[in-house]
Amino acid sequence: MKQTFAIGIGGAAGQGVATPGDIFAKIFSRRGLHLNAYNAYQSIIRGGHTFLTIRTGPEKVTNMGDRIDLLIPLNQDTMDRHLGLLTAGAACVYNAETIKPGAAGDGVQLCPLPVSKLADITRNKVAQNTLAIGAALSMMGIGFQGLESVLTEQFKKKGEAVVAENVGLARAGYDYATLNFKPFASPLPMTENRYAVFSGNVAMAMGGAAAGVKFYCAYPMSPSTGVLHWMAAHARKAGIMVRQVEDEIGVINMAIGAAHAGVRAMCATSGGGFALMSEGLGMSAMIETPVVVINCQRAGPSTGVPTKTEQGDLWQMLGAAFGDYPRVIAAPLDIGDCFRLIPEIFNIADRFQCPGMVLCDLLLSEGRLSVDPRDLDFNPIIDRGELITRANGAPSGPRTNGAYKRYQISESGISPRAIPGVPGHIHTAATDEHDEDGVLISDEFTNTVKRRAMMEKRMRKVVGIEAAIPPPSLWGPRNADVTLIGWGSTKGVIEEACEILSDQGISANQLQIRWLVPLQGEAIVDVLKGSRHTIIVENNYSGQFARYLRSETSYAPNGHIRKYDGEPFMPHHIVEAVKEQLTGKTKLSVPTHEIMV
């Protein structure tokens, strides 16, 4: 088993859970430790309960894991909710004056901090947080220096006195713990590496910038808003026009307008906003103007649980907008992949002049992951496809459109796309069915032969798209006892479940789907033919991917593991469900989330 260490910090919203989280993340990533952070929170600005899990270790950390090694409750509620989760070897650091511990498990170390003796609590309301960070680092075997420099950066703007006060507090906590608490059994190592830490939303925004996005617009909607925030903050440096629009209908239409004028345009939303964009996606397909839309799924239906994760929008994406049209849908596999996928999907959308949809979810959008900065390629391949611009257009005369036909019938289904402003290529792009020249064939020129030809031209692009995307591959031993099939964000947790199962004598492999439409059905079935027992794991109620796979390939797996309580899978949920299913007890497991958040 890999060495990992997980910290859980909980409190009410507004109590400062985020700051210690950021501080730990900086310290770990600068020591060359990987990390994965997930914040379970509620749709409330002040109060309620928020619980941040940061899991770190010298190797890649792909998910929140099963175990909390250190609990830092910032209020009584957090103590009451989560102390029972701790098992032997774990510890709980808390303010002894305001929080009373309940019954702790065997081998759990309770570490009360006498906050008012160590700090002037009349002046510093979050003194307990800083003391706890200091104490925690001492117990983890991490030197004080790293914390001092992070605190200095964190509070620099507030002046030297605030810096000195916080460094002093941290030091007091650190020294107190060194004298009074037992250190953790395995101190956290240090490596030569230095990692960047980002959320999936930041990753997708940066991926957009790398892909050459020049226009980004959005309406705020959790959990997609982080993309807008990064874009807005960096727009002027990166030369990106960023607009906040009146609604998601406006968003998609504005993005398509910008794309039609010749730039790469992107927008992000969640399920509700995506529903409003549906008609616009049909327009993108019909006028053959590429646009990339990100859907950061949250728990639905309707307003649902805005701050909780789910993979419940697959069929919405599959069915978005009426009529048949070519579309591309991809689900990033982890937060690093959120960055890589955006340039890839833009190239496909541009080449095939159709909408590209990214199916992300809250787990990736708002989770955070460490990545090697060398993996963040800001110079990816940019393929704009057959685009006629003023720079490369061969004008046949400013007043005519010469021989140019915007929707010329072609074998590939792709017709060279001239952008407005290019002499000699005047045309109208219409959402009504049209002929090769863009003339409507919905009114007096209605024509069944032309309609069929245009429909077939557009749909022929699907063949090219299929050839442009790689088939999925099987990870792990070929001849395993069980094959776990997942899509998108469950990659990391399934991977770890496979490792645990192998350690327990059940060999497991994994097939993780990234490109959902077009689905590489034959390749998937080829892989699964060799599997002994297959289980589809997904974060929704009805098995949306299982139903989709079956509709495309007639393939039905041996079993299903599903979760729709708003929280992501933890590795043991999958491990226990697999074991239960291999004994033949059930074909459908719905694990219970033990952490009450």
């Binding site: 226009f215 239409n253 504005m254 307008g257 940019i382 952008i419 792009a429 409507l440």
Partner: protein, 298 residues
């Protein structure tokens, strides 16, 4: 620009003729609007490949197909949102948006209000016939109280929207009303609207001869009074414009209600566009900048 082309000849009306002839009903007010737009472009001598005409859906929204400029025939009610994207991606284009009262004030009402407060630099021409035509005659947001249609056979009980007052309240920087039966006057308003830097709203009475038997040419002709004929009228006076916008009945003002030029356009207010249109900007993030983006995460 060394294109190797001869010096362009003068733009003439024939250059602006679309690939097909309009299929509007004979006598439709929209013919007059189309002719006035073509005349205005000829008089302003704007090269037609630098113009894009964008519409929603409806009878009047077929407009882009009938004029030889770049065109987009978008979704019902969405033309202004699309046009905003087009203008921001390439602000060197002259953007004309055309549509009807149902498209603009009904299904597209939200975009209408927000486009005006943003002062997007475009001319929005609404061919206002106070009826839904392409769906064969239902009540529109500008239908008068009491008007009988297929959707309100016992008479409309909802008050109509006043597009001019609404535009003024929403912050449009150019607000005008024309009449399809007043060609010269309408052409002049279109020219002014194109030349205005900012959101130009032009509501045009464009009678539906098939479904609206209330608001006909004969009904409008004696009523419309040009604001330009009143020497005391000052289009810089917003309050005066608001007052005139409320006039309806025996006298209905047409002409330029309001114009102000001291408000920045949306594209002019965003420094990202200082270097030129987005469509010509560099798509690559410079290495130093990329490094700084990554450094923020460390």
């Amino acid at each position: 620009m060394a294109t190797g082309l001869a010096v362009p000849k003068q733009l003439v009306m024939a250059d602006l003729k679309g690939k097909i002839d309009p299929d509007w009903c004979p006598g439709c007010g929209d013919f007059g609007v189309l002719a006035a737009v073509q005349k205005a472009l000829v008089e302003l001598q704007i090269p037609n490949h630098e113009v894009i005409t964008i519409s929603g859906i409806g009878c009047s929204s077929n407009f882009p197909g009938y004029i030889n400029t770049y065109g987009m025939h978008t979704l019902h009610g969405r033309a202004l949102a699309v046009a905003t994207g087009v203008k921001l991606a390439n602000h060197e284009l002259t953007v004309l948006v055309t549509g009807g009262d149902g498209d603009g004030f009904g299904i597209g009402g939200n975009h209408f209000v927000h486009s005006m407060r943003r002062n997007v630099d475009l001319l929005y021409i609404v061919m206002d016939n106070q009826i839904y035509g392409l769906t064969t005659g239902q009540t529109s947001p500008t239908s008068r109280i009491g008007m009988k249609t297929k959707s309100m056979p016992f008479g409309n009980i909802e008050a109509p929207v006043n597009p001019i007052s609404l535009a003024l309240a929403a912050g449009a920087t150019f607000v005008a009303r024309g009449f399809s039966g007043e060609q010269k006057h309408l052409t002049e308003l279109i020219k002014q609207g194109i030349e205005h830097r900012g959101f130009s709203f032009l509501d045009v009475f464009s009678p539906c001869v098939t479904y609206n038997h209330d608001n006909t040419y004969q009904w409008f002709r004696p009523r419309v009074k040009k604001l330009e004929d009143d020497p005391a009228y000052d289009p810089a006076d917003w309050m005066a414009a608001m007052e005139r916008s409320l006039l309806w009945g025996d006298e209905i003002p047409i002409g330029r209600f309001f114009e102000r030029t001291d408000v920045s356009t949306l594209h002019g207010a965003e420094p990202v566009l200082n270097e030129g249109p987005l469509v010509r900007s560099d798509t690559r993030i410079p290495p130093d900048l990329a490094r700084s983006f990554i450094e923020e995460l460390m």
